[in-house]
Symmetry: C2
Subunit: 275 residues, 2 copies
């Protein structure tokens, strides 16, 4: 047993998605597309007699992290340092689950494969209702397109072969669990439409365009987000809403050009990795 191990998991903003429930959480998930981000979460795991989870210095309960540790049959102290806010559409809970799986596998020498670890983290996230597609996207890196839902044994991924500077600005939280438990018919229809657009033309431009249409048609835009996206469009920029958070993300310098003071990062060329 090692003393500790640390994994970095990129953040992930989903531009559009459709939900695909299933009885088995490792087969459930979402179709859609998003950007993985150089801003992300460092997760350090060390053996402990009792499990505790700390995010940016504060002890919290993160159900998918607890589930991952139980699945690996270990107790540990998990310390996460996040450059991104929790609950605002950046996949922080997915990052914590996946980072815990990677680091715990190393510390406790569990000898699982990457796909097995991703499956465990994805299933834990879906079961908790905190996300449907972040984990598999974060394991892939780049600008992943989720063509088929589920963990690595079942899903099908492609990607947009591009990199970009990314700006983002968060106004607050939206509950993924709440949105997903409501009426998702309009959302699913809009998600399918957006996916077929991006499959037809896998470029960043078409991704941003499809994401904006999706946010509107799925009825998820808040007043604040709508205004901000309009401000970016007014200066010829491309912005959309992170699913699911009251968060706007833009390519290049879209938000700065519109007079905002956003956080700045870039698409992350790699998936989650041990430090």
């Amino acid at each position: 047993m090692r003393e500790e191990a640390t994994a970095f998991v990129p953040g992930h903003v989903t531009g559009f998605f459709s939900a695909h429930p299933a009885d088995d959480p490792t087969k459930a998930g979402s179709r859609g597309a998003g950007l993985t981000l150089t801003d992300g979460v460092d997760v350090t795991v060390e053996p402990a007699t009792e499990t505790t989870v700390v995010l940016d210095g504060t002890e919290i309960d993160v159900e998918p992290v607890a589930t991952v540790l139980e699945t690996l049959d270990v107790t540990a102290r998990v310390e996460a340092d996040s450059e991104l806010p929790l609950g605002a559409g950046f996949g922080v809970s997915g990052a914590m689950a996946l980072g815990t799986a990677l680091a715990a596998n190393r510390v406790f020498e569990r000898k699982l494969s990457l796909n097995e670890l991703v499956t465990i983290a994805h299933g834990a996230e879906v079961q908790a209702g905190t996300g449907l597609g972040d984990v598999v996207a974060q394991a892939h890196g780049g600008v992943p397109i989720r063509l088929e839902p589920g963990g690595p044994q079942d899903n099908k991924l492609d990607a947009i072969p591009s990199r970009a500077r990314v700006e983002y600005l968060s106004f607050g939280e939206l509950s993924t669990a709440e949105v997903l438990s409501g009426d998702t018919e309009a959302l699913t229809a809009a998600g399918k439409e957006a996916l077929s657009r991006v499959v037809e033309e896998p470029t960043l431009s078409s991704f941003m365009y499809a994401s904006r249409l999706f946010a509107r048609d799925a009825g998820l835009l808040t007043e604040q987000v709508m205004e901000t996206i309009a401000d970016v469009s007014a200066v010829e920029g491309q912005a959309s809403m992170a699913m699911l958070g009251e968060t706007v993300f833009a390519l290049g310098s879209g938000l700065s050009d519109a007079g905002y003071e956003p956080s700045v990062c870039a698409t992350h060329p790699a998936g989650a990795m041990l430090r």
Copy 2:
């Protein structure tokens, strides 16, 4: 049309493999496992009226590169700068094909997806007989396990969730085409055995062990390679032979510890990427 674009593709040493021919080169390929390397190839593509390919300052013919450009229906000047020798088992031809596909897609705004570009490069490489699994491994990054052969539409990948320092030393070339056109029965049997060992325990240790057994049982070891691997074993290090080249690679400081003066790099956490 852009002026030029550059892609970086990691090197790839295969530890073991089995060959899986098929009429369609995008479905043919290999099962096996290997290490992608931080040492790799930068490929720059710029539009030109006639196609030329330059590797480290010297004009050469690289069939898979020509095929990729033809498939994308373009003519271009392709300049590759490689940290690795050609023909010595580092996947340099695969890297040139994949880098050309990524960079040409960008320069000529072909709007293809990542999977489509990988399929084109993989098919071109298989058709030329210069490699069977490097391209899909190089697109993935890390320490990929090729569970099923072929391009992204057909194959199935997993990975060993580890990183390592890697040392390597090349004594010369081996012709992939020549080995693959010979009797491959022993090789295929040894490749299957090695893969099931690594699937059972996806760790770097078991990968190196399986690779050594494979090199021996497939009858591919040269005198020089055998001696060098033995020297590394004698100092408790782990080394094996790169498939296919007269090249030895080792984890950590295996070759240095044995008194050699190897090149030093590490596993590459990401797949091929635009610069």
